[in-house]
């Protein structure tokens, strides 16, 4: 295996995995639920939509859930605070490792424009996917996976099977 410059200086993947597993275990011990991420983005999207079109958002079949009468502010939520912590923890890790490098992660021959367009398009598709599957890599694959939830394993298999199959078609982006 060739070692790339951008892949240097990180923890051994098994050490990182065990550390991540212990954080997840602690979460289950304290809360009874696991980690998450996409739920916080959904709430942010709902709040942004509500700022522009309050009526349509509150009556929307999906966003309406966050605006039922008597419901808390959608941002006063466990996962929103957790993701806030992810930003802070990630920043501390980046700064203490002196790894803050403004830039665009892409394959050696891929253009910045192509990569950013793909990041946006991939984000859209993935965003729809997280809502349909009710979670992402954190909530479904990691947390659901560790608790042996059947649907989470089905999700995980679908994610990786699709990504491996589709990788060939976007190889220019990453090669």
């Amino acid at each position: 295996m060739k070692e790339y410059d951008y892949a240097k200086g990180f923890w051994n993947p098994y050490v990182a995995g065990i550390a991540l597993g212990l954080v997840l275990l602690l979460t289950f011990y304290l809360m009874g639920t696991g980690l998450g991420a996409s739920g916080a983005i959904a709430r942010t999207a709902a709040v942004a939509a509500h700022a522009v079109a309050p009526e349509a958002t509150a009556t929307n079949g999906y966003f309406g859930e966050f605006y039922k009468t008597g419901a808390r502010n959608p941002m006063i939520d466990w996962m929103v605070f957790e993701v806030l912590g992810v930003f802070i923890g990630g920043l501390v890790a980046v700064l203490t490792a002196r790894r803050f490098r403004p830039g665009v992660g892409r394959g050696p021959t891929a253009g910045v424009g192509l990569r950013l367009a793909m990041a946006f398009g991939g984000g859209i598709i993935g965003g729809i996917g997280t809502r349909l599957a009710m979670g992402c890599t954190s909530g479904q694959a990691l947390s659901g996976g560790a608790t042996l939830a059947a649907g989470s394993w089905a999700f995980m298999m679908a994610v990786f099977a699709t990504a491996f199959a589709a990788a060939y078609f976007v190889r220019r982006e990453w090669s």
């Binding site: 009874g32 806030l84 965003g127 996917g129």
Partner: protein, 199 residues
């Protein structure tokens, strides 16, 4: 004390939010240290260049899974409470279709939501754009909800674990997943040597 603490009423909602911040901090810190703040480290797995995503994720799943079993044996964790009240429900078809879309978004977009957050604080513009795309995708999902709202809640199998699907004891499933992980770690090493895209 026997966990889960919050579910048994040992923690207030306000305290749970402080815990959320702390847990998130640890989560973000470990994700960064794993190398997950850079889309190249995340997508190299799909080209068999660097299988760190598989190694990190699978060892995390096994660590937590085995840890939960040990805590249960020690009487420190109430596993049945988890199974009855908080296990993620299975909606088979929406989760499969969502998984296909998410997998496509992962390899095309280069991130998943949690890692994109770490990418943003690492200074990566593609992570910022990815999160903007995700937000837009969620708006599209909400706008089209009348079209797929009934599919969204279809094939509801409830809170069901793999142990129940296979009619086997939990301990056996845990052992099987751990063995699967070890086998995949071994295969990952072979895959990196193979690296079919770089020849």
């Amino acid at each position: 004390m026997t966990g889960p603490l919050y579910m048994s009423g040992a923690l207030s909602f306000t305290n749970s939010l402080w815990i959320a911040l702390g847990i998130g901090f640890l989560f973000g810190f470990v994700l960064e240290r794993a190398g997950f703040g850079d889309s190249r480290n995340l997508t190299n797995i799909f080209y068999f260049r660097d299988m760190r995503v598989l190694r990190v994720m699978f060892s995390a799943i096994v660590t937590c899974m085995v840890g939960m079993l040990i805590l249960t044996w020690l009487g420190l964790f109430d596993y049945t409470m988890l199974l009855d009240y908080s296990l993620l429900k299975t909606y088979l078809w929406p989760q499969l279709v969502g998984g296909v879309l998410f997998g496509l978004g992962f390899v095309v977009g280069g991130y998943c939501p949690g890692t994109a957050a770490v990418g943003v604080v690492s200074g990566k513009l593609d992570a910022v754009i990815f999160l903007a795309g995700m937000t837009s995708g969620i708006w599209i999902f909400a706008a089209g909800f009348p079209l797929w709202g009934s599919f969204y809640k279809s094939s509801d199998l409830g809170r069901i674990t793999l142990a129940q699907v296979f009619g086997a004891p939990v301990e056996l499933l845990v052992a099987a997943v751990a063995l699967m992980a070890l086998a995949s770690f071994w295969l990952a090493g072979l895959a990196e040597k193979w690296a079919p895209y770089d020849k």
